[in-house]
């Protein structure tokens, strides 16, 4: 219990991932869904960093760097889309965005 090994970090990553996923599936506000996605991405970053440490391989860190870059882009573009949707439909409630329904 005291000896923190890879498993602990991965468990933490899994729990965070799960919480993030719960948020994605449950919340109806699109912005909050995005925040939950951020949580999930961070969980993934944590997993990469943990593996990098326990294998003494810096490639994991590089990967985390790339994930952060992508996350930043995604946040920017996603929020821009939400903004556009809000301008058109005056709502960010995903339950009301069901135009794809037949």
């Amino acid at each position: 219990m005291m000896e923190i090994n890879l498993g602990h970090f991965l468990a933490l990553s899994a729990v965070l991932f799960g919480i993030g996923m719960a948020g994605v599936l449950t919340r109806r506000n699109a912005i909050v869904i995005f925040m939950s996605i951020e949580v999930m991405l961070n969980a993934a970053n944590l997993a990469f960093a943990a593996f990098a440490f326990f294998r003494w391989n810096l490639t994991g860190h590089v990967f985390v760097f790339m994930v952060m870059v992508v996350a930043a882009c995604e946040v920017a573009v996603g929020l821009a889309i939400i903004l556009t949707i809000f301008r058109n439909r005056a709502t960010v409630n995903v339950d009301e965005l069901d135009l794809l329904k037949w």
């Binding site: 339950d95 965005l97 329904k101």
Partner: protein, 757 residues
Amino acid sequence: MGHEAIQHAVQFYAEHNDLLILVPLLPLLGFLTNGLGWVFTGSSMPKYYRIIFAVLLLASMVMLILLLALKHLGVATVDIPEFLPSILILFLKYLFQAALALSDSYALIFILFIAILARVLIANNLPRWLVNVVAVGSVAGSFAISVELFLALRYFPEGAYLSQRVFTWIAVIPGAGLKEIALRAPLSLTFDRLSAVMCLVVTGVGGVIHLYSTGYMAHDQGFARYFAYLNLFTFAMLLLVMGGNILVMFVGWEGVGLCSYLLIGFWYEDMEKSAAGKKAFIVNRIGDFGFLVGIFTLLWATHTLDFYGMRAWAANHVELLTGGKLLGISLATFIGLSLFVGATGKSAQIPLHVWLPDAMAGPTPVSALIHAATMVTAGVYMIGRMNFIYAHSPTALMVVAAVGVGTALFSATIGFTQNDIKKVLAYSTVSQLGFMFAAMGVGAYAAGIFHLTTHSFFKALLFLGAGSVIHGLSGEQDMRKMGGLAGKLPITFATMAMAWLAISGIPPFAGFVSKDEILWKAFSNGIHPHWFNLAVYGVGLVAAVCTAIYMTRLMMMTFLTPSRMDHHAAEHAHESPWTMWVPLAALAALSVAGGLLNWPHLLGGGASFEHWLEPMWVEGAAPVHYAESVEIGLMLLSVAVALAAIASIYVLYKSHMAKTGDIAEGLGPLYRASLNKYWVDEIYDSLVIEPIKSLSYFLLFRIVDVNIVDGIANGLGTFTKDLAEVGKRVQTGRAPTYALFIVLGLLALLAYYYGFR
């Protein structure tokens, strides 16, 4: 003829046996020409159809001529250009080979008919004379070839025959599950002595009737259709009599049934007439079921369908035929009875005779051809062909004879009371067919076939004469409104009188010879016990007397009694044109002189007909030997009773015609029974037809069709729709739902890889 010449003739015809196919082929070509001409001419057909078809015909004619020329120039192979598509190359190769094998006679005949049809199409009119010439000419050509082949056959040794295999129609090789039964049914034609006789009858009498029809149907609108059907009938009948295996015979059997339907219902706008046509075909079909059972059993037993093959098999497997138990009876009896069921349907014996009187709805030449001379005799011919089976089954022969002679008496009694001239003749036909079956049933096959031949002469003559009367009276068929026509229609009267005497069995006319032969053979055959022979003879004699009675009545009421015609008919009664009375005269001559073909030994003749057909039959039980005096006595007896009958009816109608009504009253229920043909139709209607109709409507339609079949079909549609209604809820259009599905998929993957791997 010198021996060498005979050899030469035998060789020639053995090599040129492809003449056989020409006999049925000519009427078929006549059918095609008239039929296609009728279909394609007239205003309802667009012009370009005709032109295209005519062009195709001319192109094929040109190609045929070219191929013929190539053949005669000695070209054996032809280089077909390689750039053509392969299927075209194959077709041309095949065509060229066929043309090489074609004899010139075929090619010329094809070219002739193609030319006629092309001319008709291009000119867009179908002149009557052309139709008549094509129809009568094709049958006449068939007759000519039959005569030639018959003359050739005379030089062949006994038992030899001509046969031609036109093409391999069915060839099923035994494989797994077929248990080594090879089904080989080539379209093969056989011209042996029996076929020769039948061919001559069919084409000869048929040709005469074709000629008659040209006059009878001269004012009918559908003449082209009529002659097309008539030629098709001749083709089918020739296939039937010339068929080399039982399947080809069955094709002809069905073909004549079809043509009978087409021709009886010729004036189809009249519902009753078309119903009569349907009735004929359907009753025929019921008999065909038995025929088919017979064919299947034959195939199963003999593994071959060829007549001569089956005959050889029967010679080697007598124990199997007489001993094998099939449903409790021997194999030969089973086959014989099933085939006889078919004959019952086709040749109108009890209980399937009901279609023949109704068939009088068709034109009179049709009645003459189909229902007197040819189609109805197919059953008799079939029993003659299959005699090698019947010879091993006295039981089946007993049934045949009993049914035959019973029918003879039964329908003869119906003939007493009918007032329609054609109906009397129809029942007369049924009765005479009964005689033929009685002859076959006592083993007197030659006598039966001979009676078939003479019957075709005088019955066709009677029908054509009746047609002449009807034509002369502008459509009147009821005998109660005729009378005194002897003076107005002299030729008709004279020829019909000869037929009347023939059918009544007065010597020396043809009917006397054949009928007497039957009665004698019935009395003296060695197959059945003596009591049976006596019974058959007795019933037959009574039926012969009845025949004389109703025929005399017919002649009296139509010709020799004072006129009961209505005024208009009486004024316009006229003799028929030459196309109608020449056939009458020809048939009359045959009715008179036909007996010479088989003049009995007893009276000093050579019985050449019987001797000619002798090699066709297998050895049967030897006839019982009676003294010559017995035979002469019986002959005199039958002549005497026939003369007595004629005399009494003559006197009755001549002087005491009014009394006929009293006699009818006096006989009461018997009269009514006879007049209503013993209510056979009504009995069938209530016992068979109504139950089937109810079954069909209430069970099959209401329950099976509407509920089950439609239910399944509609149910599938409804089910699919409901399934879709449920399934469409997957698509909510909301992204979170789809995200959930992604997670579920991920879960499934993880579970699979870490749980079950």
